[in-house]
C-alpha cells in the first residue's frame, strides 16, 4: 500500500525500518521526518530509524506534493471535498491528515493550498481485537455502544473488527456502515478493501445525517455503525436511529468519561441514555487497550 503512495526513493528509506510496525509517518515541510512505532516516535534517517535529529531526513516540498498527487490518484481536483476537510483516504485504508492554508470563498472553505504537512496513518487490521469486548455488547440484541478514545488509540480498528466479528459469530444482523471518510471499509470503486464481513452494507462519503435517514428507510439495518461523531447533527442522527429501533455503534474522540461530559451538545445523548455501553480505549498497553466500560447510567461495568 505504502509503496504506491510514496516516491521510490522515500520507500527505500522506509524499507530500512520495521515498516510493518509503523503506525504513523509525520512529514512537516523543512522539518525532520518522524515515524511512530507503537507509542514511540523516531526520526527517519537515510539508514533507518534514529534518535539523532541531525542525521534525520529533512522533508521538502516535492516529497509532500508528490505524495498528495499519488494519494489523489493523479487527480487532485477529484479529491477536493476531502482536501478541504483536511484529509485524504487512500486505497488500503491509509489516512492522511493535511495541513496548509485554507482558501475561502463566500465565507466557506473552498480548498486547502500550500500543503505543508502530512500525517500518514497506516491501518492495521487486528483481527480479534474486539473479542474481549463483544460479550458486553449484547443483551438479546446489540446494545447501543460508543467507543471513546483519544486519536490513535484504535477506535477505527476496534469498530472494523466488531463489524467483522458480528458477521463471523453468526448473529445475522444487517449492519449499515456509514463510512463518511472511507476509513473503516475503505471502499475503492465501490468495493471495500478492508474486510467488514458478510452482513455489512457500506455507504461511503456521505454525511451521517444522510446515511442514517436514507439507510434506515431503504436498507432495513439492525445496527448502524459510524466513526467519529463530533457535532449536534451527528448526535441527532443517532437519536433518530435509536428512536427507530435500530442499534448504533459509534466512536468519538475523548480521553475519559469526564472529557465526554464536557463536550458541547453531547448531553442530549447522555440525558436520553442512548448508549447502553460506553467503552473507553487507551494506548496504555498499546492501541486498543480497554480501560473501562460504562452502562447507560454511567456505572462501571466490571471487566
Amino acid at each position: 500500500m505504502l509503496k504506491n503512495l510514496v516516491p521510490d526513493y522515500f520507500f527505500e528509506i522506509l524499507n530500512k525500518t520495521p515498516i510493518d510496525k509503523i503506525n504513523e509517518i509525520r512529514l512537516r515541510l523543512d522539518k525532520k521526518a518522524v515515524v511512530m512505532i507503537g507509542n514511540k516516535s523516531y526520526y527517519l534517517s537515510l539508514n533507518g530509524l534514529t534518535g539523532n535529529a541531525e542525521k534525520a531526513y529533512e522533508v521538502n516540498k516535492d516529497l509532500i506534493d508528490e505524495i498528495v498527487k499519488k494519494a489523489c490518484e493523479n487527480s487532485v481536483y477529484a479529491f477536493n471535498y476531502q482536501i478541504k476537510n483536511a484529509y485524504l483516504t487512500v486505497l488500503g485504508g491509509i489516512r492522511i491528515g493535511l495541513t496548509g492554508e485554507a482558501v475561502y470563498e463566500k465565507g466557506t472553505i473552498k480548498t486547502l493550498k500550500n500543503i505543508n504537512g502530512l500525517a500518514i496513518r497506516l491501518p492495521h487490521e487486528v483481527r480479534g481485537c474486539s473479542l474481549p469486548l463483544l460479550p458486553y455488547l449484547f443483551k438479546q440484541d446489540f446494545l447501543n455502544t460508543l467507543i471513546v478514545s483519544p486519536p490513535g488509540a484504535g477506535k477505527t480498528t476496534m469498530i472494523r473488527d466488531i463489524i467483522y466479528q458480528i458477521s463471523q459469530k453468526g448473529y445475522c444482523y444487517n449492519v449499515l456502515l456509514c463510512d463518511e471518510r472511507f476509513e473503516v471499509a475503505n471502499c475503492f470503486n465501490g468495493k471495500p478493501t478492508l474486510d467488514v464481513g458478510n452482513f455489512c452494507d457500506t455507504l461511503s462519503g456521505t454525511t451521517k445525517t444522510y446515511a442514517f435517514e436514507r439507510g434506515i428507510r431503504s436498507l432495513r439495518p439492525d445496527i448502524i455503525v459510524t466513526d467519529e461523531i463530533s457535532h449536534l447533527q451527528d448526535y441527532e442522527s443517532i437519536m433518530y436511529a435509536s428512536t427507530c429501533g435500530v442499534s448504533v455503534l459509534a466512536s468519538i474522540h475523548a480521553k475519559s468519561l469526564e472529557d465526554l461530559k464536557t463536550k458541547k451538545d453531547f448531553e442530549i445523548l447522555f440525558k436520553n441514555k442512548v448508549f447502553s455501553r460506553i467503552v473507553i480505549l487507551s494506548t496504555k498497553d498499546g492501541p486498543g487497550t480497554i480501560e473501562a466500560i460504562y452502562d447507560e447510567n454511567l456505572r462501571f461495568v466490571s471487566l
Partner: protein
C-alpha cells in the same frame, strides 16, 4: 536500366510528396484532437470530477490519430511506469512531426495535469487550449495550403524527370 532509373526517380518524387502531405495531415489531426481532448477534459473535470485514468481511457476510444500514442504514454506515466524524462523521450520518438517548442509545452502540460485543485486545473487547461488553438488553426491552414500543393509539385517534378530522361 534507364527505364528502372526513371521509374525509381518517379516513385521517389511521389513518395516525398506523400510524406509531406502526411506530415501536414498528421499535424492537423493531432492538434484538432488535442483541442477536442482539452474540451472533453474540461467537461469531465467540471461536471463529473472524473479521475484522470478514466478520462484518458474514455478518450483513447474516442480518437484514432497519433494522439493515442500520447495517451498511452501518459497512462504509463501516471501508473508510475514512466519517469518524467522517459515520458518526454516517448514524445520525441513517437510524435516526431511536432516542433521542439510544441513537444516541451505538451510534455509540461501533461506532467502537471492532475496536480491542482479544480479551479486551478481548469484554468491551466484553458491556458493550454489558448496556446494550442492558434497552432491548430495554423496546422489546418497549412494542411489546406501545402499538403496537396507539395504532393502535386513532387508529382509534377516526377513527371518532368520522366519526360527529361525519355
Amino acid at each position: 536500366m534507364k527505364l528502372f532509373l526513371i521509374i525509381t526517380i518517379f516513385v521517389c518524387c511521389v513518395l516525398i510528396g506523400i510524406l509531406i502531405k502526411k506530415y501536414y495531415k498528421k499535424r492537423q489531426n493531432f492538434f484538432c484532437d488535442l483541442s477536442s481532448f482539452c474540451e472533453n477534459l474540461t467537461n469531465d473535470i467540471s461536471y463529473n470530477s472524473e479521475k484522470l485514468d478514466i478520462i484518458i481511457d474514455k478518450n483513447l476510444k474516442l480518437f484514432n490519430s497519433d494522439i493515442n500514442q500520447l495517451f498511452c504514454a501518459f497512462k504509463q506515466y501516471i501508473n508510475g511506469n514512466l519517469s518524467d524524462d522517459n515520458f518526454k523521450d516517448n514524445l520525441y520518438k513517437n510524435l516526431n512531426f511536432l516542433h521542439e517548442k510544441e513537444r516541451i509545452e505538451i510534455a509540461k502540460f501533461f506532467i502537471n495535469l492532475g496536480a491542482f485543485a479544480k479551479d486551478e486545473e481548469l484554468q491551466k487547461i484553458l491556458n493550454f487550449s489558448n496556446l494550442i488553438n492558434p497552432v491548430k488553426t495554423d496546422a489546418i491552414e497549412k494542411n489546406k495550403k501545402f499538403s496537396s500543393l507539395y504532393f502535386k509539385l513532387f508529382l509534377f517534378l516526377g513527371i518532368v524527370f520522366v519526360i527529361i530522361f525519355i
